[in-house]
C-alpha cells in the first residue's frame, strides 16, 4: 500500500526523478522536492480539467431525468464526449474585447478566477499523504484565504469590461460572496475546534465519525454557504441564465469565457472536495480503495448540488442578504459556542458516537427555533 508521496516517488522508475534529484546541490531540495512538486502540479491540473469535464457531463446527464429528458447522448457513448465537443467549440470562438475596456484587467480576470481553484487543490488530500502539500499545518486557513481571491477576480471582470451591467453584477456577487464567507468560516472553525488541527489531512484522520453526523449544524451551514460561494441555485440570481444573462462575465467570449466556466466548475470541485474532506471523512471508507471513495463522495456532493438546482427557485436579493446576516451568521456563532462547550466538556475528545443524536437534536431545535424568529425587513413574519 502506498502511503506517502515519498514512497510513490521511490516506486517510480529512477529515470523519472533522478534528473531532478538535488538540482542545485543545496539543502532545500530534500525528499525529491522537484519530482514531488512536478508530479502533483501536473496531476492537479490534469485532475481538475478532467473532473470539470466530468462534472459538466454529470450535471447535464443527472439533471435531465429530473426534467423528464434524456440529456446529451449523441457524442460518444452516453454523450461522454459532449464536454470535449463544447471545449473545442469554445476554443474556436472569436475573442471579443470591448473597445473601452480596461484591457489589462479584462485579460487578467479570467486567469485570476481559475488559479485560486488550482491553488486550493494543493492542500486537499485524496489519500493519506497524497496531495501536493496535504499535511500543510495551516491547510484550511490557506483554503479560506486563497478562496477569497476569487472575489477580487469577479470584481476585476466586472470593472474591466466597462459595462454598467457587468459592474452591477460584480458588485452584487462580491457582496454575496463576502456575506456568505463568514458563516462558512465559522462552520469550519467548529470543525477545527473538534479536531484540534488546521491540516486537512489531520481533519480527515480525526474523523472516526463523519462530521456531517457529529456536527450537522456546521455541515448544513457550510453546504448552504458553498452553494452561495459557487453562485449556484438557489443563490444564482446574480448571473441567472434565464433572466439577466451573465452578470459580471457578460462581456467575455471565447477562451476567456471558457476560463470563467472552468473557474465556476473548478469552484464546484473544490467546494465538493472541501465538504468531502471536512464533513464526509474524505478518503475513508470500507472495501473500496481510498481514492475511489474520495471520488464517489465528490460526485455525491455535486449530485446533491445539481439536485438542488433542479428543484429550488432562486431567492431575491433582500432574501439573500437577510438570510446570510440574520439567519446563518447567528446560527453559526451559536453553533460554534455549543461545539466549544462540548469540546471543553469532553476535554478535547469530542468525537464520540453518543454526541451524534444530541447534536442532531440541537441542530433541529436551533434550525426550527431560529426560523420562527427570522423575518425579512418590513415583511410579514412567516406564519407558524
Amino acid at each position: 500500500m502506498i502511503t506517502t508521496p515519498q514512497e510513490i516517488i521511490t516506486r517510480m522508475p529512477a529515470s523519472v526523478w533522478q534528473p531532478f534529484d538535488d538540482p542545485l546541490d543545496s539543502g532545500w531540495a530534500v525528499d525529491n522536492f522537484w519530482a514531488h512538486w512536478g508530479l502533483f502540479s501536473v496531476g492537479i491540473i490534469g485532475f481538475v480539467l478532467l473532473v470539470v469535464m466530468g462534472f459538466i457531463w454529470f450535471e447535464r446527464r443527472f439533471i435531465s431525468p429530473m426534467q423528464l429528458r434524456i440529456g446529451p447522448n449523441r457524442c460518444g457513448p452516453f454523450g461522454l464526449l459532449q464536454p470535449v465537443a463544447d471545449a473545442v467549440k469554445v476554443m474556436l470562438k472569436e475573442d471579443i474585447v470591448p473597445n473601452l475596456a480596461d484591457k489589462v484587467v479584462h485579460f487578467i480576470a479570467p486567469i485570476a478566477i481559475f488559479v485560486p481553484v488550482l491553488l486550493m487543490f494543493a492542500v486537499i488530500p485524496v489519500h493519506e499523504g497524497v496531495g501536493l502539500i496535504p499535511d500543510l499545518n495551516v491547510g484550511i486557513l490557506f483554503v479560506i484565504a486563497v478562496g477569497s481571491i476569487e472575489t477580487i477576480a469577479v470584481f476585476m471582470a466586472g470593472w474591466g469590461s466597462n459595462n454598467k451591467y457587468s459592474i452591477l453584477g460584480a458588485m452584487r456577487s462580491v457582496a454575496m460572496m463576502v456575506s456568505y464567507e463568514m458563516p462558512m468560516a465559522f462552520a469550519v472553525v467548529a470543525v477545527v475546534l473538534v479536531t484540534g488541527t488546521l491540516s486537512l489531512q489531520g481533519i480527515v484522520q480525526a474523523q472516526t465519525i463523519p462530521f456531517a453526523l457529529l456536527l450537522p449544524m456546521a455541515f448544513i451551514l457550510y453546504f448552504i454557504g458553498a452553494l452561495a460561494e459557487l453562485q449556484r441555485t438557489p443563490f444564482d440570481l446574480l448571473e441567472a441564465e434565464s433572466e439577466i444573462i451573465a452578470g459580471y462575465h457578460i462581456e467575455y467570449s471565447g477562451m476567456k469565457f471558457a476560463m470563467f466556466y472552468l473557474g465556476e466548475y473548478g469552484g464546484a470541485i473544490i467546494q465538493s472536495a472541501l465538504i468531502t474532506t471536512l464533513f464526509l471523512a474524505g478518503w475513508k471508507g470500507p472495501f473500496l480503495p481510498p481514492f475511489l471513495w474520495f471520488m464517489i463522495k465528490l460526485f455525491a456532493v455535486f449530485g446533491m448540488i445539481v439536485w438542488i438546482r433542479a428543484t429550488w427557485p432562486r431567492v431575491r436579493i433582500d432574501q439573500l442578504m437577510s438570510f446570510a446576516w440574520k439567519y446563518m451568521l447567528p446560527l453559526s456563532i451559536v453553533n460554534l459556542l455549543i461545539v466549544a462547550l462540548e469540546v471543553i466538556w469532553f476535554e478535547g475528545d469530542a468525537v464520540t458516537w453518543w454526541l451524534v443524536p444530541i447534536n442532531i437534536v440541537i441542530c433541529g431545535a436551533l434550525l426550527t427555533g431560529w426560523a420562527t424568529f427570522f423575518k425579512l425587513r418590513g415583511g410579514p413574519q412567516v406564519e407558524s
Partner: protein
C-alpha cells in the same frame, strides 16, 4: 409549531423532483424513436407519378411561388413528353395547391420529413428524385390512399404513470 418556516416545503420539493427522475420520459427520443406522421400530412416533399402525368402544367399555373418548372416536348402520338419536372424544395411553401390542381392526380405530397441537405442546390428535386421508389405518398387531397396508411401516433396516446 409547524415546520413551514424551516423550509419543509423545500425538502418536499426535492423528493417530488426525485420522483420525477424515475418517471418515464415524456419527450420523444427522436433518432431511436420515430412518430408516424398524420395520414394527410403535407410534409417536406412532392411525389410525382410519371405514368399519370400528361405534362399539362396545371400545377405550374397553380403554384403561388412560381416554383415548379416543367418543360415538355411533342411526342410521337402528338402528346407531351415531360423533359424536365423540377421543384425547388427550399422555396416551396408546401401549400398544396399544385396537388389540388392536378387534373390527373399525378402529383402527391410525400410522407418523409427528414429532408435536410447540406446546400441549397441539393434541395432542388428533379424528375427522377420526385418519382423515386423510396417515396411514400400522403393521403392529402387523395382520399383513396387514406385507408392503406398507418395510423398517426401521438404522444397523448402513450400510457403514463400518474405522478402526484
Amino acid at each position: 409549531m409547524s415546520l413551514k418556516p424551516v423550509g419543509i416545503g423545500l425538502m418536499q420539493g426535492l423528493f417530488v423532483v426525485f420522483k420525477h427522475a424515475t418517471r418515464k420520459r415524456i419527450t420523444e427520443q427522436y433518432p431511436e424513436e420515430r412518430l408516424t406522421v398524420s395520414r394527410r400530412t403535407r410534409a417536406q416533399e412532392l411525389v410525382w407519378d410519371p405514368g399519370l402525368c400528361t405534362g399539362c402544367a396545371t400545377c405550374v399555373k397553380a403554384c403561388p411561388q412560381g416554383n415548379l418548372k416543367v418543360t415538355t416536348s411533342v411526342g410521337p402520338n402528338n402528346n407531351y413528353i415531360v423533359e424536365k419536372f423540377e421543384n425547388d424544395e427550399g422555396r416551396c411553401i408546401f401549400c398544396g395547391l399544385c396537388v389540388e390542381a392536378c387534373p390527373y392526380e399525378a402529383l402527391f405530397f410525400g410522407r418523409r420529413y427528414e429532408r435536410s441537405q447540406y446546400s441549397r442546390g441539393e434541395l432542388i428535386a428533379d424528375k427522377d428524385e420526385m418519382s423515386g421508389d423510396d417515396k411514400e405518398r400522403s393521403a392529402y387531397f387523395r382520399p383513396d390512399l387514406y385507408d392503406d396508411l398507418p395510423e398517426q401516433t401521438l404522444l397523448i396516446y402513450r400510457k403514463h404513470k400518474k405522478i402526484i
